[in-house]
Symmetry: C2
Subunit: 201 residues, 2 copies
């Protein structure tokens, strides 16, 4: 962050905080800051939303997705098929899957992926919660929808190895997904194909 | 904003507010929202900064720049040349000029530009404040640094016509600036040249 002696300290602080956000450079941070100053209502709404999310959001006790009611809207929806659980790396992946309108089961959010390079082992992920959930419920199929990357595949293999003994069917998304890509950015057709062509591990 | 039934309402609200920011699309808004949720300290700092700026920032009584002390750090700096006033459209333009390190005078922020298309007339800008400032002070030169656009040029002409009777020298930045461009994005060399080659209106 460049030093800005001509900027009021509270403005410089806001620019600094905005500059820390992913994908927001110093120029964008300045633009955003002055936008917020020009639009005090937008600024207040944003601050309230940030504080609100901080206060109200927690993990759903069933699927571990972010929620402000427990169980979350998906887990408590009677129209969702509780016998299917789609395992994803993060909450954004759920949004991508929901956009396809081809899946009516429930989810399980790992909140990460096994990555020895980054010091993330299986115990950092919500895997204990997944195992506990499978034991005492009528889940018939676990659809693993981790990203088609090295770490995602390794995580999928790890989950498959740990779940198979429980007798639950384990599938993973078909290789309609472009390998090396990011599930969050897959187009809807590709993701729908991947759902339809899922294969047993 | 797409409808996100699988998203907690407070998360959807945060995504919605972020999506309203200039240059932030739905995907970026989602990424930013989940970043803020994953980093509660960053979220708190951002919310505090947004609220802080809303509470503490006002217009400097002399130059009309955003400040949290009055007069602002530039106006109250004894090393700045109070006989020169550089007139800019917005606070970001001051940052661009400061980056060149070639100007040691003071500023005057118009907070806009005359634009009949957008219903902005001279009375919407901080022009009365500029006239008042020139009357009772030792300002010897007004350097007009509005953007080299149609509206910027029209605003410059308007200011020149109103200030000339006061006997103050009025200059504007040399046409080293790429016409049609945006002062905020001019590179430092071009902007320095423009400062050095300023010509009397």
């Amino acid at each position: 962050m460049e030093n800005l002696p001509s900027t009021a300290p509270s403005v410089a602080r806001l620019i600094g905080e905005l500059n820390k956000l992913p994908g927001v450079g110093p120029k964008s941070a300045q633009r955003l800051a002055y936008h917020l100053i020009r639009m005090p209502d937008a600024a207040k709404a944003l601050a309230d939303a940030v504080i609100g999310v901080k206060e109200r959001v927690f993990f759903c006790s069933q699927c571990q997705n972010l929620t402000d009611i427990d169980p979350c809207t998906v887990c408590s929806d009677p129209r969702r098929d509780q016998s299917q659980v789609c395992v994803v790396e993060g909450p954004l992946d759920i949004l991508a899957v929901e956009r396809t309108n081809c899946y009516r089961g429930t989810y399980h959010v790992l909140h990460g992926v096994i990555s020895p390079m980054n010091g993330v082992g299986p115990e950092e992920l919500k895997l204990k919660e997944l195992a506990a959930r499978l034991k005492d419920s009528g889940v018939e199929e676990v659809i693993i929808a981790t990203n088609p990357t090295l770490e995602g595949e390794a995580t999928a293999m790890y989950i498959q190895r740990n779940i198979s003994p429980l007798g639950t069917k384990v599938t993973h998304l078909a290789r309609g997904l472009p390998v090396g890509g990011d599930l969050e950015y897959a187009d809807q057709t590709t993701l729908t194909r991947a759902f339809q062509g899922r294969t047993e591990l």
